[in-house]
Symmetry: none
DNA sequence: CATGAATGAGACTTCATTCAT
DNA sequence: TATGAATGAAGTCTCATTCAT
């Protein structure tokens, strides 16, 4: 799962277990690809995939344009490598969230919503989703990859949390996917307004999370 | 306010008062701008703004590349003209939704959610939002324009609907913006999964709307 | 010589002597080509040949772009027609100058220099020469045409004036072409500085002419 | 003042201190800008600014079209860079001419006229003036730049030479600018006839210079 | 490993010219 | 005769990618 790479990336140095010679002093050459991807994420997010020039990325990574091609075969590969790298942390984050509260579904959900609200207030956390959304029409594989590995995983995790709560007697028996959308949706709306459409925050995260949970648990009917 | 055009569009001599009758034989110049914008929306949505070639748009509109420039000064102008044209209908649609159910807030909200769920299942209805999301990082003005005229309007309309319900005694007194996000969010999540990330529908719209409303009104707590 | 047209121009109306029907009231259609050439001269002079758009010319002539092509086959033809038309007046002007002063070579030359200095202070009078200079590298035929019919004619006229003066005993026997260059040169220098390079006038025409003649007749040596 | 560059030119990393010796094998990047400007001068002179294609220039410089843009931002920049580069030599040449003959104004003027006549018989020497004349209507700044730095400098130098002669008792006290025009004018007339309008030489330079000086010093009156 | 000069395909945009009306 | 919508052939400029050093 970690090794199987859907989007192959050039690895200029055989990562052979051999502690070949001395670890040298020279370059933290192993870090290069990551540095480049960091730069790529920044530039792609800022300008969009097409408008970003490989030169920009190289410059932000502090290397020459040619050097980028030592590590990645193409601009597309850069994008794919980036998304691929970002999926693992995203998936990890969401799993951490889903397991946040131990085995009480209700408090777990509370923690999850609070943490997610907090998290997605950070522009860096929303950088990858934003990028994926903007390139999705052209890179169907990336869209699919991201959906399956991040979105559907998240929905699935929340749904299963809900089901546990149902069995538990904590939650009413409703369509779990709908529940998941009720959990994610409001947070997404806010994140999009803010990070994509440039809105300024109104309410602070904790208040938003609180209201969100209140409605989620009890509804809006009097 | 409705007439004031933020993004000016070339209008080649309006051929005054021409309610001329016959659909003409060739040169139905009056329809051209709209035809071009239709084509532009299709191509932009499909490929993204940068990847779309003016040639593609011209071809889809059934005219030559040069002819596009008879009506629009640049590719950017095409985008702006398009967004501008689409904002009015979008705003109108949402207003229609918000006023869907007469003066009973509860049933109004029910109708609104049902209709919105229905509506956003149609790819064409989500085409403009999708496009806006993809160009937002580069065209801040468009992002702002769309947010103010569509998103914030929608949120405001729902929020005020909620406030009426509160005064009415139909709804509990909660943060109205949070309510609005609970109304929009789940629908948006589904639309994005489907239209942007390419997911196949699972539940049909009416079921989704029903579950959505159930949770919205009564919450998920047992 | 007058009829033989080196650069053929479309004549949409057979100029047959027939006073065909009524002279009509309608359009002074016969004037059209001239109006167009007027417009062309203005625009070409202002922007240069390439930068001038046929649309500009049409607009300045108060007609549609298509109408220009009813009278001229191409933009090049417009240029050639224009130059051709301007050559006659230019030649006529210079001949008038050369014959300005009756049969006293000295006073003729005086009048000629005075008049030419005066004349070339007018931007419109220098418009065609300026245009010819700017297109000469590309339109060799025009360059040649203009040189033979205007420049060389002028030089010839002055030279022959000089020769008459020599026979007359009024002038010393020197290279007549050199004399002609001494007559034209200073005037040209001023015209170029002013009309082409945008300099502001310093001395007024009469003073310039006077100094010019003084040197011409007596030299600068003490 | 000499360093202050009115028309900035892209300089791709000066490869510091490289007095490296060998003519290198490929990539003699240091020479590139100059090579390109040489090519540009040739093509612009031949065809005029607009009719010249960047491709032509690149081809004549022996590089690809794209490479031109590594050194110059635009076709305009190419023109400006070219003019700027040519102004210094032109100014230098004229200064050298003005100081040609030591401190005897009369012989200085004689040398100056002889040299200038000689010089402007060379097409390459007239290439830049010719170019400037052809683009002047569209590039007012270039026209002004050239006038101030070359034309007016020349006129000024000759005028001051004349004034020295006046003080000296060598020349009569006449309008010095008029004198300057009498010096330059005839040479310019010949150069234009030849290099711009394509005339064939008649008299050889030395004869022309001689006649020019004779008239200049003694006038044409018997 | 790294550089950066160089290429070449292609995009947007302009405009002379045509043609149906 | 006149219009103006439409075309299509360029032309300028950009940038991903390559390659000699």
């Amino acid at each position: 799962m970690t090794t199987g790479s859907k989007f192959p990336v050039k690895r200029p140095r055989a990562k052979s277990g051999s502690t070949s010679g001395r670890p040298k002093f020279r370059r933290r050459a192993d870090a290069r690809p990551d540095e480049i991807l960091d730069a790529a994420l920044a530039v792609f997010t800022e300008k969009g995939f097409d408008a970003a020039r490989v030169d920009d990325i190289a410059m932000r990574a502090g290397i020459s344009k040619g050097a980028v091609y030592l590590y990645f075969n193409s601009k597309d590969a850069l994008l794919r490598g980036l998304i691929e790298r970002e999926v693992a942390p995203a998936a990890h984050r969401l799993r951490a969230l889903a397991e946040a509260g131990g085995d009480d579904p209700k408090s777990t959900l509370t923690l999850l919503v609070t943490a997610a609200t907090q998290l997605l207030s950070d522009p860096r956390m929303f950088a990858t989703p934003k990028l994926v959304l903007s390139v999705a029409p052209r890179f169907k594989e990336i869209a699919q990859f991201y959906r399956e590995r991040v979105i559907d995983e998240t929905i699935g995790a929340i749904a299963s949390l809900h089901r546990r709560g149902v069995e538990n007697g904590a939650f009413r028996d409703i369509d779990s996917d709908a529940v998941a959308r009720m959990v994610i949706g409001p947070i997404l709306v806010h994140a999009m307004r803010k990070h994509v459409l440039g809105a300024k925050d109104a309410a602070p995260p904790d208040l938003r999370a609180k209201a969100h949970l209140q409605i989620l648990f009890e509804g809006i009917a009097a």
